[in-house]
């Protein structure tokens, strides 16, 4: 009886995804139309990339609100550099810029001696505003479009809407990123150091585990993945405004937590995050198809976040016995 409960808790998200998909397919057959499935796959693109990066920050025991600002900055800078640097140059610069933004967060957190999630929350919130403001200053508040470019950016267009076989390019990017990050987290010493840091920073440090390096690493990964997400995002909509990333930080945190990675740090998985993102996106899609207003959708999202944290804490209570 107890065992069944434990298993159910572990796979609750999966059960919810399947249940939700099934229910929607019955109520609204449009759900399984190819057009809608492609739509889901495309929506999945940017959010999952950002969320995969966020997973590392949360496993490491911290949190990153700066990804929204990073996305804003990387999107406008990258698109503006396609002309002067060419597509590859712009892509690489964008990814480096995102990583640097992440590393700056980490250095600030270390310098400030911030050891709690709450401190990191405020520092990265400040940095999000900072990066967004640079993006606004850089663009003067205007929006960049692909059609303003002299030459059509075919590589970015492919990233945004191309496909390889039945899979969209952005989905392939996701699969590659997932595979690399999963191997990194579960198979490497650096990945282990991140988990231990999240599990107990003090104990990890006293055992000679490189805690500071882990903190730099998690934020750099989050920055890089936010940049990748930004690139996939503006490539799909062929436009980059300096506010393009708004809401991504909360959706990413939501997805990670709903997936079952604990906000307490230490335990979690990128695979869980995939499920979390799926659930969040499916929920949006379902509510869209059912014609629920977007105001109500926000309420639903808030409710599942609270639910996910409640579930997480219940797990803790059960696990703490003995």
């Amino acid at each position: 009886m107890k065992q069944v409960g434990a298993v159910l808790r572990d796979y609750l998200v999966l059960v919810m995804i399947l249940g939700l998909a099934l229910l929607t397919a019955i109520v609204q057959p449009k759900f399984i139309s190819p057009a809608n499935l492609v739509n889901i796959m495309r929506q999945f693109g940017p959010l999952i990339l950002v969320s995969l990066g966020m997973t590392f920050v949360i496993i490491g025991g911290f949190i990153d609100l700066s990804v929204a600002g990073t996305i804003n900055l990387v999107a406008v800078v990258t698109i503006s550099l396609i002309g002067p640097l060419g597509q590859t140059g712009a892509l690489v610069t964008g990814l480096v810029l995102g990583s640097v933004c992440g590393a700056i967060n980490a250095v600030l957190i270390l310098t400030a001696g911030a050891i709690t999630q709450a401190e990191a929350l405020f520092i990265t919130f400040g940095m999000s505003t900072f990066y967004s403001s640079i993006a606004l200053i850089y663009t003067g508040g205007s929006t960049y479009h692909f059609w303003d470019l002299k030459k059509s950016p075919d590589m970015f267009l492919a990233i945004g809407s191309g496909s390889i076989g039945v899979l969209s390019v952005s989905f392939v990017i996701f699969l590659v990123a997932l595979a690399i990050l999963w191997v990194f987290h579960t198979k490497t010493a650096a990945g282990r150091a991140i988990s231990l840091t999240g599990g107990n920073k003090t104990a990890a440090r006293l055992a000679g585990v490189p805690v500071s390096r882990s903190i730099v690493l998690i934020y750099t990964i989050a920055g890089f993945m936010a940049a990748l997400g930004a690139i996939v995002l503006f490539s799909r909509i062929t436009t980059a405004a300096p506010v393009i990333g708004a809401g991504f930080e909360t959706n990413a945190i939501l997805s990670v937590v709903v997936g079952g990675t604990t906000l307490k740090g230490g335990k979690g998985s990128v695979l869980r995050t995939v499920m979390g993102v799926l659930l969040v996106i499916l929920l949006n899609n379902t509510l869209d198809l059912l014609g629920v207003s977007s105001y109500m959708q926000w309420a639903a999202r808030g409710a599942i976040l609270v639910f996910a944290i409640w579930l997480d804490n219940r797990k803790e209570v059960q696990g703490n016995q003995l």
Partner: protein
């Protein structure tokens, strides 16, 4: 034999409790007489804490009956237990640090107290009744452990408790504070309040308990009046085997200098200078807060300290962080096992392999087969009691957790082992095993720095003892030839070691 309401305040019958994979309690029966101090002893993992948590309502029992003050208790919550008159004072005290003493005593009952004035007046009366002079408006965070306990006791009294359970209350107390606690226990007893006193320290059990229950492996081994127990019998019953001595022989024949420390100054430490020889155990003695822990943390690179010189085997080394210390051949068993030593949600194996991760990493990748070997080897060689190495370490008893931390360092074989309160909160059997490990480390050519608040432990195990008082080294002694009294005087900074 009948547990009538008149004779027994608490009657526990055949209580069982299982957790996934472990039977924590296998049919426990204890009767606690009214107005008695009932000692409960047993190794960590014997089931004492589980039983107490069932009594207070933190856990639910699987089977069995509990009768408290004539009432059968089925399911309860900690709050209901309190109201019923059963209070528990946990080892890690349950107070709100950011609130005042008075507010803590009457937490959530300000209305009944008719506001803050009533709260503080009544709190004052309660504290006075146990001879505690702490101001009721002081913040709990500013209190010593001893005073926090007094607040907990006052809180228990405020509920008209009939039974107070104290879970290892003496762990962090000085001897004067302990004397005060004993006085209060006698006083409570005179008022007709029953007390269950859980402890590892046999001296305390023999000092003031009336009846003693010995638990082992989730069962009650024996319950009888203290006077019918001998010390040896009690130890034997606790560990389930005969222990010849409480301490092994100290290591013999210390050799040449292994480490020298010079010019260690911080805001708290003043000109610390000492050496450590190969093959010896060096004891640091001092009161809590005298600077013992600060010295070893500074050497280990755990705190940022500049300007001191550390020489190992004649070579100057710079240690800026624990990683440097590890590379220089140092290992540390930190003072606070749960907060500084363990990664609680992680497996036994991952906790053991933490420090030696470089040893089983190739091209950045963890080699799991080697890691499993490390976990299995340490569990076997240190006789760590665990169903398997995959189980989360928080499920192990204190002694076994501590052995995992020792194993973590043994795996990389540091030559200098720093142990800060290595036997705090662990049972007699595991203590002895840790002493033997210390001795082995020293005899294999390493050295141990031992910090402990238990004076007999330091005096029996160390080859040399340094006394620390107020951030200074106040003396160096050979514990084999010096009286404990002289050493303690030096540790208290009472001169005598000019």
């Amino acid at each position: 034999m009948d547990a009538t309401g008149s004779e027994y305040i608490l009657s526990i019958k055949d209580v069982t409790k299982s957790f996934p994979g472990v039977k924590a309690l296998g049919g426990v029966s204890i009767d606690v007489k009214r107005g008695m101090v009932h000692g409960v002893v047993g190794e960590n993992g014997a089931g004492k804490s589980t039983l107490m948590k069932i009594l207070s309502g933190v856990y639910k029992k699987d089977t069995g009956t509990i009768i408290f003050d004539g009432q059968t208790i089925e399911h309860t919550t900690p709050h209901e237990s309190m109201l019923r008159g059963l209070a528990i004072i946990y080892q890690e005290l349950n107070l709100v640090n950011s609130m005042s003493v008075g507010e803590n005593i009457f937490l959530g009952r300000f209305k009944e107290m008719k506001g803050m004035h009533g709260t503080h007046t009544k709190a004052r009366a309660l504290l006075d009744s146990i001879g505690c002079k702490v101001s009721t408006t002081k913040l709990v965070s500013e209190l010593s452990v001893s005073n926090k306990q007094m607040v907990e006791i006052a809180k228990a009294l405020s509920f008209q408790s009939k039974l107070i359970i104290m879970d290892e209350p003496s762990t962090s107390l000085t001897s004067e504070e302990m004397a005060l606690l004993v006085k209060i226990i006698h006083q409570l007893k005179d008022q007709g309040i029953s007390i269950i006193y859980i402890s590892h320290k046999l001296d305390e059990i023999f000092d003031f308990c009336d009846i003693v229950t010995v638990m082992r492996d989730g069962k009650v081994i024996d319950t009888k009046p203290k006077t019918e127990f001998t010390r040896d019998e009690l130890i034997t019953k606790m560990v389930g085997r005969t222990i010849e001595n409480e301490y092994p022989e100290r290591p013999r024949n210390p050799g040449e200098n292994l480490m020298e420390v010079k010019g260690l100054n911080t805001r708290k430490l003043h000109d610390i200078q000492f050496h450590l020889r190969r093959g010896e155990i060096l004891g640091l003695v001092g009161l809590v807060g005298a600077g013992r822990t600060e010295i070893v943390r500074a050497i280990f690179g755990a705190d940022k300290v500049h300007g001191h010189q550390v020489t190992i085997r004649g070579k100057a080394v710079t240690i800026r962080n624990p990683k440097d210390a590890k590379d220089a051949g140092l290992g540390l068993i930190p003072e606070d096992r749960k907060l500084q030593g363990l990664v609680l949600p992680f497996s036994v194996e991952h906790n053991i392999s933490m420090a030696s991760i470089d040893r089983f990493t190739r091209f950045g990748f963890v080699r799991r087969s080697l890691e499993k070997g490390i976990g299995a080897r340490q569990v076997q060689s240190l006789k760590i009691k665990t169903p398997n190495t995959k189980i989360a370490i928080k499920n192990l008893s204190g002694g076994n957790q501590q052995k995992c931390i020792v194993g973590r360092w043994l795996e990389i074989g540091p030559s200098i082992f720093i142990m800060d309160e290595p036997t705090k909160g662990i049972d007699v059997g595991a203590k002895y095993e840790i002493y033997v490990l210390m001795k082995e480390i020293a005899e294999k050519g390493g050295a141990v720095i031992l910090i402990s608040s238990e004076l007999p432990e330091v005096l029996h195990m160390s080859n040399r003892v340094l006394t620390i008082s107020d951030g200074r080294i106040t003396g160096e002694f050979d514990p084999e030839h010096e009286s404990a009294d002289t050493i303690m005087r030096a540790a208290l900074g009472l001169g005598g070691a000019s």
